[in-house]
């Protein structure tokens, strides 16, 4: 296989891994627990930023052309762990303030506004976040240690991403397949009834929110170190919507659905449209991409609202010979 082909495929696989992780996290928050986290991208961005600054070193280094907070030169995998922790901690703080008994649409609005505030603040607080330029030249994990060829390093990164994706899959599966997952779904369906049965609704929502946020943070770190850059322009509200669209298309409430949705929407669709030659004027194809994402979401909501893999209930094995008679 030619080197450029290998680069292309390994790129795609890393993006796929990142998007699968993000969708699994969002599915936990939205599909399973019913939280419309329209600010999801903020938590992914926070994880990405954390990994970036914890590997870039102090901001004054290299002539201080980028300014940010908390510079350090931490060894892999610490930046990634820190990213997950930051994603989770930020979710905890936001969740404490925001996850209360609020009408669904008001709840969604609060999250949307948080996303917009984050974007404005980050773009303008140049001292903290280097403004709209973002961060560049982020070192990659273990690069100097392994001394691989560029192509070799790509495949190494694919392996790392794959390992993390598996880890996230296992964690999410354990949660959703357990009584805890069932309780989260119950809280989603009727939180008042759940409370009347002894469930601490706020705490349960926080658990889902924080877990999803930690996963988002980790996925952000993986992405940021792969492309060696972090730019506020990549973490805007519409990106959250792409993930929502993916989860809905794949099947909200179903982990396999989240995986498939990630493969279909952010990866397959956006990849496929990369190869359409730029016609019309520059930017037209991008605008049309968004139109198609919007139409696709509407189409799925109309024709198959439960997605490719709808949410499933669990069936429990019966001891032999105890089939109930049907009336």
């Amino acid at each position: 296989m030619s080197s450029s082909m290998q680069f292309y495929i390994s790129n795609l696989l890393v993006y796929l891994g990142v998007d699968v992780m993000a969708c699994l996290g969002l599915n936990l928050q939205f599909g399973v627990a019913g939280l419309i986290n329209l600010a999801f991208i903020v938590f992914q961005a926070a994880g990405a930023y954390t990994a970036a600054v914890l590997t870039l070193g102090p901001s004054t280094a290299r002539g201080g052309f980028q300014s940010y907070i908390l510079g350090a030169h931490l060894q892999f995998p610490l930046p990634w762990l820190a990213a997950a922790v930051v994603g989770g901690a930020l979710s905890f703080v936001v969740g404490l303030i925001v996850l209360r008994r609020l009408r669904t649409d008001y709840q969604a609005m609060v999250m949307l506004v948080i996303s917009l505030i984050a974007t404005t603040v980050v773009t303008n607080a140049t001292g903290l976040f280097n403004g709209s330029n973002g961060l560049a030249l982020i070192p990659q994990p273990l690069e100097s240690v392994l001394k691989l060829s560029p192509v070799g390093y790509q495949w190494f990164y694919v392996g790392l991403t794959f390992a993390c994706t598996i880890l996230v899959w296992v964690i999410v599966r354990r949660i959703t397949g357990s009584p805890l997952g069932r309780t989260l779904r119950a809280v989603r369906d009727n939180d008042v009834a759940a409370a009347s049965l002894g469930k601490n609704v706020t705490q349960l929502r926080l658990i889902a929110f924080v877990a999803g946020g930690a996963i988002a943070g980790l996925s952000g770190a993986i992405l940021a170190q792969f492309i060696s850059a972090w730019s506020p322009g990549s973490w805007l509200f519409p990106e959250s919507f792409v993930y929502f669209s993916a989860v809905i298309v794949g099947g909200a409430g179903n982990n396999m659905g989240a995986v498939v949705g990630a493969a279909l929407v952010p990866v397959a669709f956006l990849e496929a449209t990369r190869y359409i030659p730029q016609f019309g004027y520059p930017g037209l194809v991008d605008a049309l991409q968004w139109v198609v994402v919007g139409l696709l979401t509407l189409g799925v909501m109309w024709f198959r609202p439960r997605g490719v893999f709808p949410e499933r209930t669990r069936r429990f094995a019966r001891p032999p010979g105890s089939e109930p008679t049907h009336e």
């Binding site: 354990r174 357990s178 009584p179 409370a195 009347s196 609704v201 877990a211 209930t313």
Partner: protein, 254 residues
């Protein structure tokens, strides 16, 4: 039967804005009884129920449950203490199956704790299997065992009522608050539910029932507390209440 009432409400009051929905309400629920709470619309029964079950904070007054002061406890804490309520409008978890609805209610499950969940299935599997067996017994008791894997949202209205009752019982409650359990239920099913409730009472479950169908109240409840305009008018057996002038006036006027 022990002397101490299981539930004791004293001087309960609640105002919304300028309106006094509940004024100085006091009554007891004796252990092992089915106590009725009746009154015309606007009497404040739903507010009292909401306060006792932890869904509404009272403006003043106290609630004692099993001897302990519980006023101000939130609904989920009360449920964990054994005080569970059902709802007038069907409140099943519609995207969960019938048996999943019951399993959610199983108390003190290791599988509900994140730490045990992340450790792996082996930590909580046995407990869940016990809960499944118990849930199946309840479904059989309420004569809907074949509905086990159906989505709760697909059940008929009457079946949802039975499900809600079964679900509340999964929590192994000490006191069950029933909010108009017979509302909108057809007469044949009313009789069946009555039979279930009487059997439960005979097994020692205490219940407080808010209900409009006076026939049901007559057959099931002793004593019955009557409220009107936010206050307790009287209490006693239905026969006694029927002879009470004040009560009759309240019902005719309200």
């Amino acid at each position: 039967m022990s002397g101490e009432p299981l539930l004791s409400v004293r001087g309960l009051a609640k105002s919304f804005g300028g309106v006094e929905a509940v004024r100085d309400v006091s009554f007891d629920v004796a252990a092992g009884s089915i106590t009725g709470l009746i009154g015309p619309n606007g009497a404040g029964k739903s507010s009292v129920l909401a306060i006792v079950s932890g869904f509404l904070a009272p403006t003043s007054g106290s609630v004692h449950f099993g001897g302990e002061l519980v006023s101000g406890h939130s609904a989920y804490r009360l449920a964990r203490l054994g005080l569970v309520r059902t709802f007038q409008l069907s409140s099943e978890f519609e995207r969960l199956s019938v048996i999943e609805n019951l399993l959610v209610a199983a108390p003190n499950q290791r599988g509900d704790r994140l730490r045990d969940v992340l450790a792996g299935r082996w930590r909580w599997r046995a407990e869940e299997e016990e809960a499944v067996a118990r849930a199946r017994e309840l479904l059989a008791r309420f004569e809907i065992p074949e509905k086990e894997d159906d989505l709760a949202g697909d059940l008929s209205g009457g079946q949802k009522r039975l499900l809600e009752l079964a679900r509340a019982l999964m929590t192994e409650p000490k006191l069950l608050l029933l909010d108009e359990p017979m509302a909108g239920v057809n007469p044949a099913l009313i009789r069946r539910i009555e039979a279930h409730l009487m059997a439960l009472r005979d097994e020692g479950l205490t219940m407080l029932m808010v209900e409009h169908e006076l026939g049901v109240v007559e057959r099931l409840c002793d004593p019955v507390v009557v409220m009107a305009q936010g206050q307790v008018l009287s209490s006693g057996t239905m026969a006694e209440l029927r002879a009470n002038e004040e009560v009759l006036d309240a019902y005719l006027a309200g």
